[in-house]
Amino acid sequence: MERKIFFEKARLKENRKIGHNFYLLKFITSVNPVVISPGQFVDLRIRDNHDPLLRRPFSIFNYEKGIMSVLYKIQGRGTGMLSSLKKGDMIDYIGPLGNGFHPFKIGKTLSVAGGIGMAGLFYLQKIFNSIPLLIGLNEKSDALALLDLLKESRIQQNRVHIAVMEKTPEFFTGTATDLLQTFLKRTKYDLILSCGPEAMMHSVYKIAVKKNIATQFLLERIMGCGMGVCQGCTVKVKEKGRLNNKLVCKDGPVFSGEEIVWT
């Protein structure tokens, strides 16, 4: 049976800056947590005017007691406008959309996020909190902000491992993939879940292939409708030896590393 998709105007509980680069938006939702699967997203209509026109997709970052949240970074006009919304304002969302991560066994699984890509892996972490989650960030300030966020979101900190590009004594220095390499040296994993910049995910894939580890990636595409009708968000996949189009919004946003045609 297909799960219900909500479409409603929601009241903002808060919208605040997290560290120097991220924002956390919380809104009151009628969505029942039972219907949310980690990796799914919501499509937000930021304001009622027609420029920018399209909705903007964001991973469901967290859900707690009727409050849904998304974590975002300002990229352009839509996210810029989003950051100007205040508590009490209304936002119009459709969701949960997409399929989230494919079913897997928790045993030997690892998650790797690059920057704001962590937004796609947090809710998964919350539910399956024994999975190690490696997060690569640019600045120490991001890392400190993230630690606060983990506390606030009731996520076990000892399973979250942070790599920071900026050299600091407190954190692993390097990228998320550097950190991943050290993990793979120590332990054998069967599956890597990942979300982040496409180049970073490609590196993760190449590392995993070498070690024969299965992968699932949360992809991002510019979306027209977010629900599988406009055919605007295609990703090229290999299916039974043939090249095919799939829709990131409807067939994804999570795809296995093998099916993705990396460019």
């Binding site: 479409f7 409708c225 605007g232």
Partner: protein, 296 residues
């Protein structure tokens, strides 16, 4: 709010536009699509099509450009996989057809025109004719005329021709289609548009512009065509509110199609149906026909 196009009756004149509503399944999870007057399907082609490579949509001020490239499952799979759900609906079903040659259109019209549960065919002429060096059917009066003549011959099902607004004088094409005996004209498809990526100094996207930005342009065309043509006109382009839908009706459109704005506000069609009912009540009108073409 009933209206008729050819021999088919629709319970109201608020339709979903081709390519913006899929085959209805997705939207049925969010709204009650049975309330719509009709659903125009994504274009169906004879063979399955993969559509265009690369970036397919881009946002513009109050609009979007798309170059989907008619990706669809093809006629056979359409009939086997999609038509069943569509025919289970209590709404009109209009199949948008597209081809690369005249014969492909004819074949589509013959097959689809013979199926139950379909209320009309809409001929999408904004396709390159591979037999004529890739000039769009919509761009050349002669090949346009031949195409419409052939399709009209192929089926007795109510036939709608969807015009392109980028092909010069839209009225000339409208008159040609009327002369070939089609039952209605859709004015119109998307407008030719481009964006350049200034970083790489290459084309970013080339395709068709839709959305609120084009509404005043589409309305101008609808006014002109309705003033000069006596067969039903279906308006498409930039509808984003009750008021914009009403403007099309007042201009003379017998039905309207909502496209891009379904993405922005999935219940826009239902809002418009409600809004028009209210408008009629306030103006004490008993039939939508009292609005249609009321422009002096």
């Amino acid at each position: 709010m009933k209206i008729k196009i050819g021999s088919s009756e629709f319970k109201n004149p608020i339709f979903a536009a081709s390519g913006t509503f899929g085959y209805g399944e997705e939207f049925s999870r969010i709204i009650d699509i049975n309330k719509l007057g009709a659903i125009v399907t994504k274009a169906v082609t004879l063979k399955p099509r993969k559509g265009n490579e690369g970036l397919r949509i881009a946002e513009t001020p109050a609009g979007m450009i798309n170059r989907i490239g008619l990706e669809n499952v093809g006629l056979d799979a359409f009939i086997n996989e999609k038509l069943k759900f569509l025919s289970s609906l209590k709404t009109g079903i209009i199949i948008n057809i597209a081809g690369e040659t005249k014969n492909e259109y004819v074949a589509l019209a013959k097959v689809l025109g013979g199926l139950a549960g379909i209320h009309a065919l809409e001929v999408n002429v904004s396709c390159p004719n591979v037999e004529k060096g890739g000039i769009e059917f919509s761009q050349d009066l002669i090949q346009f005329k031949e195409l419409i003549k052939a399709v009209r011959k192929a089926t007795e099902m109510p036939l709608i021709v969807k015009l392109s607004p980028s092909a010069g004088d839209i009225l000339t094409f409208a008159k040609l289609a009327r002369d070939e005996g089609v039952d209605a004209i859709t004015v119109s498809n998307t407008f030719k548009a481009s964006l350049i990526d200034t970083k790489s100094q290459k084309i970013y996207i080339q395709g068709g512009l839709s959305g609120p930005a084009i509404f005043p342009l589409a309305l101008s065309n609808v006014i002109q065509v309705c003033k000069n043509i006596d067969i039903p006109v279906i308006a498409s382009g930039g509808i984003h509110s009750v008021d914009t839908a009403l403007q099309f009706f007042i201009a003379g459109a017998k039905a309207v199609q909502i496209g891009t704005f379904n993405f922005i506000q999935p219940d826009i069609a239902l809002q418009i149906i409600k809004g028009i009912t209210t408008f009629m009540r306030e103006k004490k009108l008993s039939s939508i026909n009292q609005i249609i073409g009321s422009l002096p």
